[in-house]
């Protein structure tokens, strides 16, 4: 039987609003569907860093899942903008990217990314990383 406290936390986590940022609509759709499957149905999307920043500044989001290689503003630049904005810097940013160079991973971590997933990835990996980040932030048990 699931403890009541956990149920409360899970329902709280399910209400979190996600922003999925990727220049490929297929990948945005995949990530949104996966988030829904793992219990996070409330997700919006943006096609690059500029659009994402615009949405983040005009709406309330709890979690960002972002690609790196995007036109206009890439994922590193978006991460930088989020972390230097007092109103946004608390939002965890999970990088989901094909960038597999070690220097990119280190840079993302140093810039404040909450997690890093390399493509291609599995549903289990996304679930594990999202839940780990939320647990660390106290938004999930």
């Amino acid at each position: 039987m699931i403890p009541l406290a956990l149920l409360k936390d899970l329902s709280m986590a399910a209400e979190l609003k996600f922003l999925v940022v990727d220049d490929f609509s297929t990948m945005r759709r995949i990530v949104r569907n996966l988030l829904k499957e793992i219990g996070y149905a409330d997700a919006d999307e943006a096609e690059d860093g500029v659009a994402a920043l615009n949405k983040l500044r005009n709406n309330s989001f709890d979690f960002v899942v972002s690609d790196i290689n995007m036109p206009n503003m890439n994922g590193f630049q978006l991460l930088q903008e989020i972390k230097k904005d007092d109103k946004l810097k608390h939002i965890p940013v999970l990088m989901v990217t094909a960038e597999a160079r070690k220097e990119d991973i280190v840079m993302a971590a140093q810039q404040g990314a909450a997690g890093y997933i390399v493509k291609p990835f599995t549903k289990a990996t996304l679930e594990e990383k999202v839940n780990l980040i939320l647990t660390k932030l106290g938004l999930r048990q």
Binding site: I30, D67, N69, A98, D104, Y116, P120, K123
Partner: protein, 218 residues
């Protein structure tokens, strides 16, 4: 019947002239390449073309794997779906024959349990099919790089053509204008690593990412 030889064979004077022209053009091309630093660019194309070949092979491999994955999962889902359909027919017949017995002997409850488990398996197949579409993103990034390479070579060849063409005021004017606006490529991430084997600077799996981040204290 013998072919007419007039027009096929060049007169000795014309042949010499052609050779001289080719020689001049070769020298002109060499000087233009060296003088404008294009020789180095040509060398870099030679390095980039095998890379483009690797990238195209990567696209072929990824799309092939995705198609295979989709077909395998569709096969499994169809079998599972067929199983549900045949079980539904069997239980339907049992209920029609002996409704009380079908329930009392547990046939109906077993069927419900079976449908639930099989549905979960079908759902997993559908998720796998969805995940297989990630090739679109990965190959799209690689295709963009190959297109950029082709566009780069094309623009360099056009530049070369303008330089080596016979003097023409219009061409010279165009060349001067284009030289005044140097191309400044924006720094962009590298995209998928198409040949990770033997490259110590890239990770090959999610567990390597996790290990790297853990070593940094994240």
């Amino acid at each position: 019947m013998s072919a007419p030889d007039s027009g096929n064979a060049l007169a000795p004077e014309l042949s010499n002239d052609v050779h001289q022209r080719i020689g001049q053009l070769t020298r002109q091309l060499h000087d233009a390449l060296s003088g404008l630093g294009l020789a180095e660019k040509v060398k870099s194309w030679a390095g980039e073309l095998p890379d483009a070949k690797d990238r195209l092979s990567y696209i072929a491999r990824l799309t092939g794997e995705a198609a295979e994955k989709v077909l395998n999962n569709v096969d499994q889902a169809k079998q599972q779906h067929e199983h549900i359909a045949s079980e539904t027919r069997r239980i339907g017949a049992l209920i029609v024959k002996d409704p009380v017995g079908a329930v009392a002997r547990g046939h109906v409850l077993n069927f419900i349990d079976d449908v639930e488990k099989t549905s979960q398996q079908i759902d997993a197949n559908l998720t796998n099919i969805m995940m297989a579409q990630d090739f679109h993103d990965l190959t799209g990034q690689v295709i963009a790089k190959v297109v950029n390479l082709a566009a780069g070579i094309e623009s360099q060849l056009i530049e070369l053509l303008l330089i080596t063409a016979p003097p023409d005021p219009l061409v010279i004017a165009t060349d001067t204008t284009s030289a005044a606006v140097p191309a400044k490529p924006l720094p962009v991430p590298q995209g998928p690593v198409v040949k990770p084997e033997g490259n110590p600077d890239v990770v090959k799996s999610q567990s390597e990412v996790d290990d790297l981040l853990a070593s940094l204290g994240f």
